[in-house]
C-alpha cells in the first residue's frame, strides 16, 4: 500500500504486471547471454588475422580446424547468399541481441576491403574444409585444370551470382540458396537431393582443388568484386614480369604474369611466402648476386 502511494506520488504507477522485459535493458542484460559467443568469435578472428599477418602455415592449419569445427559445425557462422539477399531487402537481425553475428559480418566486409578475400581463404568453414582436403590428400590425385579452361571456369561464379540475384528479385524465394551453396551442410539438415548433390561436389573436389570456391561460389564472386577496392595489396617485384614461380604455385589461378587477379586471390600466403624466401625468389637471388659482385671485385687487389 505504501509502495502504491509512493509511486503515485512520484507520478508513475507501479507496474502491476512485473514482467521482466518491462525494465529498461542495461548493457549487462544484453551482453550477459552473449559474451561467451562474442569472446570465442573474437578469439577465432584474432587467430585468423595473426595467422595471416605471420604468414604461418601451422597457424593457418589451426585456423582451418577451428573454422570447420567451431564456425561451421558448432555455430554455422558462414556468409551465405542469403546475407546478400538481406542487404538487398535491408532485412537484418536485431543488432543488440546478435552482436557476435554483426562482429562476424563486419569483419568479413572490412577485411575484404583491407586485404581482399581473406574470408574465403581462412574464415569460411567450407573453404577451410576443401583447403584441408588439399593438404591431406595425395598430390598425385590432383587434376590440374588447363589455364584457358580455368580462366573461363572462374567466370561461372559471377554468372551464378547474377542468376541467383535475378531469381531472388523476381520471386523473393530465399530457399534457392540450398541449391547454389553447400554451407547448409554444417547445419546437418538437408533433403536427400541436397546430400546427393553435395556428395558429387565433394567427390569432384577430391581431384580438382577448391573446385567450388574457385569456380562456383556466388559469395566468393561478391567478395571478389569487393576486392577491387583492396587497400593493402600483395607486393610484386619487377622480376615478377618474367618469373613464373608464384604463378605455378598459386592453387587459386590468381596470378597471371606480373598481375594478381583480385577476384580470385584469397590471400592464402603461398606466393607471399615465396617472395619472402631469399633462397627461392629471383628478386632476392639477384640482389644477393649483385651485392657479392660489388663486395668481391674491389677487394681483390688488396688480397
Amino acid at each position: 500500500m505504501i509502495g502504491l502511494v509512493l509511486s503515485v506520488v512520484e507520478g508513475q504507477p507501479a507496474d502491476p504486471w512485473g514482467f521482466e522485459e518491462v525494465a529498461v535493458e542495461t548493457w549487462a542484460d544484453i551482453l550477459g547471454p552473449q559474451y561467451l559467443d562474442l569472446a570465442l568469435l573474437a578469439a577465432f578472428l584474432v587467430l585468423a588475422w595473426v595467422s595471416f599477418t605471420r604468414k604461418s602455415v601451422p597457424l593457418k592449419l589451426v585456423t582451418f580446424a577451428l573454422a570447420i569445427g567451431y564456425m561451421g559445425f558448432a555455430k554455422s557462422y558462414l556468409i551465405s547468399i542469403t546475407n546478400i539477399f538481406s542487404v538487398l531487402d535491408w532485412n537484418w537481425p536485431v543488432p543488440q541481441y546478435n552482436l557476435a553475428w554483426y562482429l562476424f559480418f563486419g569483419f568479413t566486409v572490412v577485411s575484404t576491403i583491407l586485404w581482399g578475400r581473406l574470408y574465403c581463404g581462412r574464415i569460411c568453414a567450407y573453404g577451410a574444409l576443401t583447403q584441408t582436403l588439399d593438404v591431406v590428400l595425395p598430390a598425385r590425385w590432383r587434376v590440374e585444370v588447363p589455364r584457358p579452361i580455368e580462366k573461363r571456369a572462374s567466370l561461372i561464379k559471377f554468372g551464378v551470382l547474377a542468376v541467383v540475384l535475378g531469381y531472388y528479385v523476381l520471386t523473393h524465394n530465399l530457399l534457392i540458396y540450398q541449391y547454389v551453396e553447400p554451407f547448409w551442410m554444417f547445419g546437418l539438415f538437408g533433403t536427400t537431393a541436397m546430400w546427393v548433390g553435395l556428395g558429387a561436389l565433394l567427390t569432384a573436389t577430391l581431384f580438382v582443388r577448391n573446385l567450388y570456391c574457385r569456380f562456383l561460389c556466388p559469395v566468393g564472386a561478391t567478395l571478389g568484386l569487393m576486392s577491387y577496392l583492396t587497400v593493402f595489396r600483395i607486393k610484386r617485384w619487377s622480376e615478377c614480369n618474367t618469373c613464373k614461380m608464384c604463378q605455378k604455385t598459386c592453387q587459386w589461378g590468381a596470378i597471371e604474369g606480373p598481375k594478381i587477379l583480385v577476384t580470385e586471390c584469397v590471400r592464402c600466403d603461398d606466393c607471399e611466402r615465396l617472395y619472402a624466401d631469399t633462397q627461392k625468389c629471383p628478386h632476392w637471388r639477384i640482389i644477393e648476386y649483385q651485392s657479392r659482385k660489388i663486395q668481391v671485385l674491389p677487394l681483390q687487389p688488396i688480397r
Binding site: 514482467f19 521482466e20 558448432a74 551465405s80 537484418w92 541481441y97 539438415f189
Partner: protein, 180 residues
C-alpha cells in the same frame, strides 16, 4: 582513379538491384481466417481486424445473435504488435491466439523467410510448445523454449516476438489479476 570507377559502378548496380528487390515487398496475409478455427476450435464467431493494437476478437457465442457477449480471447499478428522485431531475415509472421487468462491457445507460422526455418520454426514441434503457455512464463530459449543449435538467431527472434506481442496484448486488454 580506376578503383573509384569500380566503386561507383558497384554502388550503382547494388542500388538498382536493391530498388528492384524493394518493389516486391512481403505483406502480412490479409485473409488469415482459415487458421482461426485451429486456434479456437470452440469459438462461435470472430470480429473483423480492428482496435489499437490491431487484433481480432474471439466470441464464444455468435456475436450476431448476442451482440453484448464478451470476447473469450484474441487473435493477433506479432507483426502488428512488435513490428520492429526480426529474426535472421526479417519478421516472422506469427498468428497468435490468446484467451482472457493470458494463456496462449495456439500459434500459427503463416510466413517466414528464414534460411534455416525448415529445421527451426517450420516443424510443428516449434509452435506446439507455445500451446497452453502463460504469458507469465519466462519464454527463455534453452529453458522453457527449446533451443535449436545453428538456428539461434531465428529461435531467439521468434521467442521474443511471441513473448512481447502476447504481453503487450495482455497489458492493453486484460488486468493483472485475470492472468495466472
Amino acid at each position: 582513379m580506376k578503383r573509384f570507377g569500380v566503386l561507383i559502378l558497384m554502388l550503382s548496380t547494388a542500388g538498382l538491384v536493391t530498388l528492384a528487390a524493394q518493389s516486391r515487398r512481403i505483406f502480412t496475409n490479409p485473409r488469415p481466417e482459415p487458421h482461426f478455427k485451429a486456434l479456437f476450435p470452440n469459438a462461435a464467431g470472430f470480429s473483423a481486424l480492428g482496435g489499437t493494437p490491431l487484433h481480432y476478437k474471439v466470441y464464444g457465442e455468435d456475436p450476431k445473435a448476442n451482440p453484448g457477449a464478451p470476447p473469450i480471447g484474441f487473435i493477433f499478428w506479432t507483426t502488428d504488435l512488435v513490428p520492429n522485431e526480426r529474426a535472421y531475415h526479417g519478421p516472422i509472421h506469427f498468428l497468435v491466439g490468446m484467451d482472457m487468462r493470458g494463456i496462449i491457445q495456439g500459434v500459427v507460422v503463416d510466413y517466414n523467410s528464414e534460411p534455416y526455418g525448415y529445421f527451426s520454426v517450420d516443424p510443428p514441434q516449434f509452435v506446439a510448445q507455445f500451446k497452453n503457455k502463460s504469458i507469465r512464463d519466462p519464454f527463455r530459449v534453452g529453458g522453457d523454449i527449446q533451443a535449436v543449435s545453428r538456428a539461434s538467431i531465428t529461435i531467439n527472434g521468434a521467442a521474443r516476438a511471441l513473448r512481447d506481442a502476447s504481453r503487450t496484448m495482455a497489458k492493453t486488454f486484460l488486468s493483472p489479476d485475470q492472468v495466472q
